[in-house]
């Protein structure tokens, strides 16, 4: 769902750039306050992980491809604001170095994958987990967090694609940018994610949560009892 250059009209991508810059500003402040210096290696690993997992294109036989993003599991492990920064860095590097996603669409892509996805994932996880630390409920929370997170991101991208014909067409009705209306973009992106890509994202999150619960549970942001703010005050 990396929107390329030429698919969004300026009246879409400029406000989305503004929104992204606002989220980056908040995220930098939050990360500075909430994340401790000893976690810096994990920040680097989070970005590297998101970059790498996106290289694993998953085919729909005879159809399109898609991939996991990792923003959900990063939000659970290191907090949503860390995910905002790490995934934004990945998207910017992908756009400039690899031509994956447009330069004009960086704001749009960051809102979808680096803002909507981590927050939907964390909210879903908190809602479903309750106070479980293992078992079916914990697995369901982990799976659904990223399943819904990626699906929400895809729907936002579909919405951005789908409104283009309505807001930017020539007088004779030809689209100027992304050509397909909401009635095509939304169902296509919803179905391919609901049935395949988001399932992969969810399974990956379950596996990683298990791995970290077993090996480094004290790291996991989403199961911490006290907030980082409190730790800071006491320290």
């Amino acid at each position: 769902m990396h929107i390329p250059d030429g698919y969004l009209s300026p009246q879409t991508y400029i406000p989305l750039y503004g929104a992204s810059v606002a989220f980056w500003g908040i995220a930098l402040k939050k990360v500075k306050r909430e994340v401790s210096v000893r976690h810096v290696p994990y920040l680097a690993m989070a970005a590297a992980f998101s970059f790498l997992i996106q290289m694993f294109n998953i085919p729909i036989p005879g159809g399109t491809t898609g991939h996991a993003v990792g923003a959900g599991v990063i939000a659970l492990l290191l907090g949503p604001w860390t995910a905002v920064i790490a995934v934004s860095v990945v998207l910017i590097v992908q756009a400039f170095v690899f031509g994956d996603g447009g330069i004009t669409a960086i704001g749009a892509n960051c809102i979808n994958m680096a803002v909507v996805m981590p927050f939907v994932a964390l909210w879903t996880f908190n809602l479903i987990r309750g106070s479980s630390q293992s078992g079916a409920r914990f697995v369901a929370a982990s799976f659904l967090s990223s399943y819904l997170g990626l699906t929400a991101a895809a729907l936002c991208a579909a919405f951005m694609f789908g409104i283009q014909p309505a807001i930017a067409s020539t007088p004779d009705g030809r689209p100027l940018y992304a050509p397909y209306p909401l009635s095509i973009a939304v169902p296509v992106m919803a179905v391919e994610h609901l049935l395949l890509f988001s399932i992969v994202e969810g399974i990956m999150t379950v596996i990683l949560m298990r791995y970290f619960m077993k090996n480094e549970p004290s790291l996991i942001y989403a199961i911490k009892e006290v907030s980082y703010d409190k730790i800071h005050l006491e320290a």
Partner: protein, 120 residues
């Protein structure tokens, strides 16, 4: 304190995670082999300008103007251009994965260093 050398100085657990990440880079060609094998095309909405022309029979005006705004140094994670052999693409993909690890972690370290510069 954080520094570029410091990112590998964590305990065994962190070293293991780095190993997994490098392993992912070496496995990443699966991400082009599987789509080729199952005859899957571009992601929906990420078509190049020629593919759009084929789908619609024309290229939207605005798209024509902005689509090729930026020439990336490693377009589509490939050093071989559009019609490169699969072997070239596989090697390109692994190198791209390693380049990606390097650049994204470097940028994160720089951001963290600036954020935490007053802390010990």
């Amino acid at each position: 304190m954080c520094s570029v050398q410091g990112i590998f100085s964590g305990g065994i657990f962190q070293k293991k995670l780095w190993l997994w990440l490098f392993l992912m880079a070496f496995l990443s060609p699966l991400g082009i082999i599987l789509p080729e094998r199952f005859n899957a095309q571009d992601a929906w909405g990420e078509w190049g300008i020629d593919a759009v022309d084929k789908l619609l029979g024309f290229i939207p005006e605005g798209m024509k103007k902005t689509a090729d705004l930026w020439v990336a140094p490693i377009p589509d994670y490939s050093f071989g251009g559009e019609n490169a052999a699969l072997a070239t693409n596989i090697v390109s993909y692994i190198i791209s994965g390693l380049v990606g690890i390097f650049i994204t972690s470097l940028v994160m370290i720089i951001i963290a260093t600036l954020l935490f510069r007053h802390e010990k």
